[in-house]
Symmetry: C2
């Protein structure tokens, strides 16, 4: 199957290459430039966003290069001229990238990624950087709300079938960072080590001559700790059959339809009456963070979430932008840098390279996102938010996925309680702009 | 970059494999089975859906197999046992697939894909089939509305940065099927031959010492037929500079901000006054089908659409399901087939394999989607909707992408005028169920 994955270089908008060609010709391609990734706002009145995709981005930047076949496509279709193709042939990103570490929270105008290099090398990464971060941050931001709503109950990500087959793998990864427990997606297990889960669908029951035969077959194969799906025909009869066949050691039953609160209570009572007091109840079926929260007081032991997770629960993209905020006046490595910003109606941007700290009060609760133009001067209660990810073209920011997951849990716990509100409102932290010292 | 693309087999929910293992053990794995893909409803009161992704699906089914590394992952992690792994090692889909051809329209309950094989071989394809069709149909369905709203004006797809980097490639392909003219995505050009477009961003203007320098550089590189972006600073001044430098042969100007209707009228007047009567106006910036329609009476010559295209304009997934509708009573190839359906609350499905025809009135306008259980008996004014895609495991339904694009245009033209209404309402065609003859 042709996924064109020898390189990530063509996962790019054509205009990045036409700009490169024009800049090479006009002599501006070598000017040092700083691009920043940020969100102008959080979608749908959310309280915070979640940075995810950083690990994927570092892999993608390493794989960004122009091999012979790629160059032939570009020149053969008149997309770039020969001098540009010669430049591309030698291309490796040799600049610097700083960013919020994966799992960190972000707010409007948080500079979640900063790319510094020549204009030529940094502009080429725009599309790929945004694709990865816009997707993965959107999923993680929705997933984190679901995880907070679920509390200590485990969450299974099962949305693969509702999104692009490769986006599904990234979605499973982002959901895990944000607090999901497992995924149905096997490739996410293989590629990223995300724990996988799943037992059976209605089709399995329908395949057999009776529900009893189907349950028997599943128990024979997966053991009595498995999860039996009990709503293909009649839930009460199915639960009875399930406990009769598996005994009180039955792991769990899954309910995928109906009024989940009502059915879950009824099934809990029935299981308890049958002596299966340790058998868990897993619910699935069009759940989102609101549906999960609504089941908090019911005897549910775990949730499976599909569609709403992979579609970002109403915000399928994080609306992050990649903006040139500073560039040199000339091609020399030490040419002075100048802040730049467009003045388009309704879409102004703030020139100059930024740094950011999270400010804490005396009780260890975060109280502000402080974005500094110029050199940062962090106080004792400030956490500097950007870390080095790529230094002189070398990836230095790789970490295990578990570290991002652990970080996210800790970071959300530091936010003020309003962060956990599912209702629409203001961001949990205000973004404050200050002028730092002159950049060295 | 690890995209795991030697095989598509792990782009699959774990439960497909646990069901396989249990069915192999219980002796039901070899029963003949029929699965159908359909939508219970169209999202957001849309009038029709668009089938897309078929070509990608056929590639993905061909690439579905279990190599040594894949099997090692599955057995090493306790996902399948050794007998199941041995079965998987020999797996190639050997059954039959029929489907609506790519670009065709669909309605609630249209059987857009039918997969027939043993339960074992057909159940394994569920996740991958749904991922591809749910994504691509969602994008194409939104894109078709935008294309109808744009009329004869060209549409540029430019949403790559707002979605997963591989979903972006598929989105560009689906948009092209549904009527978009070009895409910004280079990989869609390389992989599928979709025409690509793009010239420059605000960063290019900001890189240069002045807008004049930037325009000069772009014209030197791309010629006077290029599109200059005129809203970085002051639109009126930019248009004057653009025509001064390029002359009246300037290809186009692009406006990405402000009240597009107002600005486009002003820019048209200015261009005409400057003698650039042939210079086109392209508008971009948060457009969707409604925004496009609202600009119908303005002097706009083309639209670029990003976010709303790749997110399905409010419906990022097509909500297609893959349901077992019939299966054999025993493992023999000639065992009688039995219709099956679950009875879950609120999610009933209709048992038995279906066929479908589109029925036309005497004027060549479509008037009904007729779904037949049993053998179809098409009348003279009926078009049979399913075509063979895979026969005995062999792909037979491949076609050039241009054929799907051409088909879509023709099919939409056959629908009643209500199909073109952007407002929420009933599907453009009613779905009628009839019983056909007994299946041979």
């Amino acid at each position: 199957m042709d996924l064109g994955n020898d390189t990530t270089a063509l996962l790019t908008d054509r205009y990045e290459l036409t700009m490169l060609q024009a800049a090479l010709r006009s002599g501006t391609a070598g000017r040092r430039a700083v691009f920043e990734v940020f969100a102008r706002r959080l979608p749908n009145g959310r309280r915070y966003g979640v940075v995810a995709g950083t690990g994927r981005l570092l892999d993608a930047v390493e794989a960004f290069g122009f091999d012979a076949g790629t160059l032939e496509f570009l020149t053969g279709n008149g997309i770039v001229d020969e001098p540009t193709a010669e430049w591309l042939e030698k291309y490796r990103f040799s600049g610097n990238v700083w960013g919020y570490p994966e799992g960190e929270c972000y707010f409007p105008d948080s500079p979640i990624l900063t790319v510094e290099g020549t204009f030529a090398e940094a502009v080429l990464l725009e599309t790929l950087v945004l694709s990865i971060l816009n997707h993965d941050c959107a999923i993680a931001s929705a997933a984190s709300r679901m995880a907070r709503a679920a509390g200590d109950r485990p969450l299974i990500e099962m949305g693969s079938r509702r999104t692009h087959e490769q986006a599904a793998v990234a979605a499973a990864r982002a959901a895990y960072v944000a607090g999901f427990t497992t995924t149905s997606n096997l490739e996410a297990g293989r590629r990223y080590g995300v724990p996988t889960a799943g037992t059976s669908a209605h089709a399995f029951t329908l395949l057999h001559d009776s529900e009893r035969h189907a349950f028997r077959a599943q128990l024979d194969s997966l053991g009595e700790s498995t999860t039996l799906l009990v709503d293909t025909y009649d839930v009460e009869r199915a639960v009875r059959t399930a406990v009769e066949l598996a005994g009180p050691e039955l792991g769990a039953v899954r309910i995928d339809s109906g009024d989940l609160a009502v059915v879950a209570r009824r099934v809990r009572d029935q299981l308890d009456e049958l002596g299966a007091t340790g058998t868990r109840i897993v619910v699935t079926g069009d759940l989102d963070e609101y549906g999960i929260a609504a089941l908090a007081a019911t005897p549910v032991d775990g949730y499976g979430v599909g569609t709403s997770l992979v579609t970002g629960s109403g915000a399928p993209t994080a609306s992050l932008v990649y903006k040139l905020v500073a560039r040199a006046d000339g091609p020399e490595p030490d040419a002075p840098m100048r802040p730049v910003a467009k003045r388009s109606t309704g879409k102004p941007s703030r020139g100059g390279r930024k740094s950011a700290v999270r400010r804490f009060d005396g009780h260890g609760t975060a109280c502000a996102e402080v974005v500094t133009t110029g050199e940062p001067q962090p106080g004792v209660r400030d956490r500097v938010l950007q870390i080095p990810l790529v230094r002189d073209g070398e990836v230095v920011g790789r970490e295990p996925l578990a570290a991002a997951r652990e970080r996210h849990r800790a970071v959300v716990d530091e936010l003020p309680p309003t962060a956990l509100q599912l209702s629409q409102g203001e961001p949990a932290l205000p973004t404050e702009f200050v002028n730092g010292g002159p950049r060295r």
